[in-house]
Amino acid sequence: MELFTNQVLAGIATGAIYACMALAVVMIYQAIDHLNFAQGEMAMFSTFVSWQLMQWGVPYWGAFVLTLAFSFAGGIVIERVLFKPLAKAPILTQVAGFIALFSIINSCAGLIWDFTIKQYPTPFGSTPFLGSQLISTHQAGMIGITVLLLIGLYVFFQYTRIGLAMRAAASVPESARLVGINTSWMIALGWGMAAAIGSIAGMLIAPVVFLEPNMMGGVLIYGFAAAVLGGLTSPFGAVLGGFLVGIFENLAGTYIPHVGNEMKLPIALALIITVLVVKPAGLFGRNIVKRV
């Protein structure tokens, strides 16, 4: 029984990583109705920028805020320069654009900061949390910030005019334009916010996994999976999905004999696909009715 609780707790700890990333994924999906494969790399690059600022002597929270601003602006710039011209192109071409962006960012990061791992500080300290041997104060802090972000996003989408405008622009663009919403800038705003949330995710994740250009590759897949599981339109679902994926993965690794350990990711993904077959919009997603 102790092993079980240990693994569940450890799963929650890793799940916090996935949940963070999943929030950024949901954010971009709300804005453009698609998944951005380069999301992870953008988060990684932002984290490197904050690391560099700290190397130059800027204190942690100063670097944090500066990086947030940089990421927000960067996200908008990337969207305006690279993806607005592609807005009329077929969606598959846009996906190719995401992949190209991934390649560019990853390569540049590798050249600028090389591939050796770097230690990344945490504002929460790394001591055991409440004496628990499994969750450190940092991981508790990570869960806390994720929940705060989640609440913030929920409030934004449900109760603010801009949030409503963004949702409208993404799901029914023609109608949104008819009521005077500038759908083009909504998309740019969405990119900026997603980049900013991604940078927070990166800065929270780096202390655990160590900062290096390839650090987000695995995380992004889990972020997607968690977001899809929870429902791509639901920030709450994304966060819950992250924790569920983390827990399930650990339990599968511990209790499924022989293959459980080697097939952790495929099993987690298989679980999600099964859920999708039953509930196509994810656990908390909105069902979309398609008309001919």
Binding site: Q7, G110, F115, T116, I117, Q133, G217
Partner: protein, 407 residues
């Protein structure tokens, strides 16, 4: 193109005839890729993709050959170093090696990196009788001169390192309960096998848990939790740098203090220990065959001084603390020695012959006591390692340089 092909065949045939004629004339003999003025060396490295961290090795070697050229070359011949990116993908490795051999016409392929890539090109290079020299992987299978006479390793094999740890444990901690965390690939499985072989009959009773992980996992924390729960009091970390650092950190976080053994690849102070935290790394054991550039104890060592001077002049951007840079230097220096030993006989067969005749060669970066020795039946140049313990901010070597060979 046909004419070129015929010319090349003729040249090769002439070289073969000259070799087999048994004449010990001090005349110049060349295979494709060598001439009076040039020696062409081919290489593949993962400059992109999941293993791009190792691309530095190729860059270091390139810089080293520049240095040799600036100092007059090898017996008056300049080195042309042609290196391609294989992105750690076997099909790409095959394509790039074929390009090196058939398009660039190199004399030999030096230090190709990665077990999958080398496995893919081994048959091709052996069938074409082109040296696959000093491969950059510790897989044990490169020491097989009977079946693959053109392939030779360089670094100590993973199995031999595993056996050294086994020897140590049998002697110093015979009642140990060992928990192993290993990467689920050639690298990890080879080490595990070495450990088990070294422990012999006692392997089954001593190893209480074998936990594998995939490189795609963001964090291995869950595995550490499992290993602690197994009751192990020795933790054998067969991990690459990123995961080794995560393990060290997690162990400290969950307040678990077993005897911690980490493999040589991840013993770098700059790439692993420092990011993980010196305070978390006290008492960790490992083994080494080369000096660690981050370690202050070698600051006045003549060999390392040469290394630092080389970096300053030819590769100033290098991250000195990266053990891959030290590695590249040592391997390149070994190749240069072999080529110098060839003299004017730069045929591929002679290159292999000289490579198999190294006697007590010590590159600048090897630990004192570790010597490179090869023979016609021993294609493992380095098979000694010395154990070390981390104390304060550096590694303290202890004991003697031990050979990992099976007794």
């Amino acid at each position: 193109m046909h004419v070129m092909q015929q010319l090349r065949i003729a040249a090769l045939a002439t070289a073969v005839i000259a070799l087999t004629s048994g004449g010990a004339l001090a005349q110049k003999k060349y295979d494709t890729g060598a001439s009076d003025t040039e020696i062409k060396i081919g290489n593949i490295m993962p400059y992109s993709g999941p293993a791009s961290a190792y691309g530095v090795i190729g860059k270091t070697e390139e810089a080293y050959f520049k240095k040799i050229n600036a100092e007059g070359g090898i017996n008056g011949r300049k080195i042309t170093f042609v290196t391609y990116d294989d992105a750690y993908s076997p099909p790409k490795a095959v394509e790039q090696v074929r390009k090196l051999v058939e398009s660039d016409e190199v004399l030999l392929v030096f230090n190709p990196l990665g077990t999958p890539s080398n496995s893919a090109i081994q048959k091709y290079l052996n069938s074409k009788k082109i040296p696959q020299l000093f491969v950059a992987t510790g897989a044990t299978k490169w020491n097989d001169p009977k079946n693959f006479p053109w392939t030779m390793g360089w670094q100590p094999s993973y199995q031999s390192e595993g056996r050294i740890y086994a020897k140590y444990l049998l002697k110093d901690k015979p009642g140990a309960k060992i928990g192993v965390l290993f990467q689920n690939d050639d690298f990890g499985k080879d080490y595990l096998k070495g450990l088990k072989d070294g422990l012999g009959d006692k392997a089954a009773s001593m190893i209480v848990m074998e936990e594998s992980y995939e490189t795609s996992e963001p964090s291995i924390d869950g595995h550490i939790v499992k290993l602690k729960a197994s009751g192990a009091d020795v933790f054998f970390s067969v991990t690459t740098p990123k995961f080794a650092a995560q393990a060290i950190k997690k162990l400290a976080e969950i307040d678990w203090h077993p005897l911690h053994l980490v493999v040589n690849v991840s013993a770098s102070v700059g790439s692993v220990i420092k990011p993980a935290g010196f305070e978390n790394s006290q008492g960790i054991l490992s083994a080494a065959y080369a000096k660690d550039a981050a370690d202050a104890q070698w600051d006045n060592d003549p060999g390392m001084k040469k290394f630092f001077e080389f970096l300053q002049q030819y590769y100033p951007d290098a991250n000195k603390l990266d053990s891959s840079v030290v590695y590249g230097y040592g391997a390149a220096q070994t190749l240069v020695k072999v080529l110098q030993m060839c003299g004017d006989d730069l045929t591929r067969a002679n290159v292999m012959k000289q490579a198999a005749s190294l006697k007590d060669f010590t590159p600048d970066t090897m630990l004192p006591g570790v010597k490179i020795n090869t023979s016609a039946t021993d294609f493992a140049p380095i098979d000694q390692l010395q154990m070390m313990r981390f104390k304060g901010e550096k590694w303290e070597l202890f004991g003697e340089a031990i050979s990992g060979a099976i007794e």
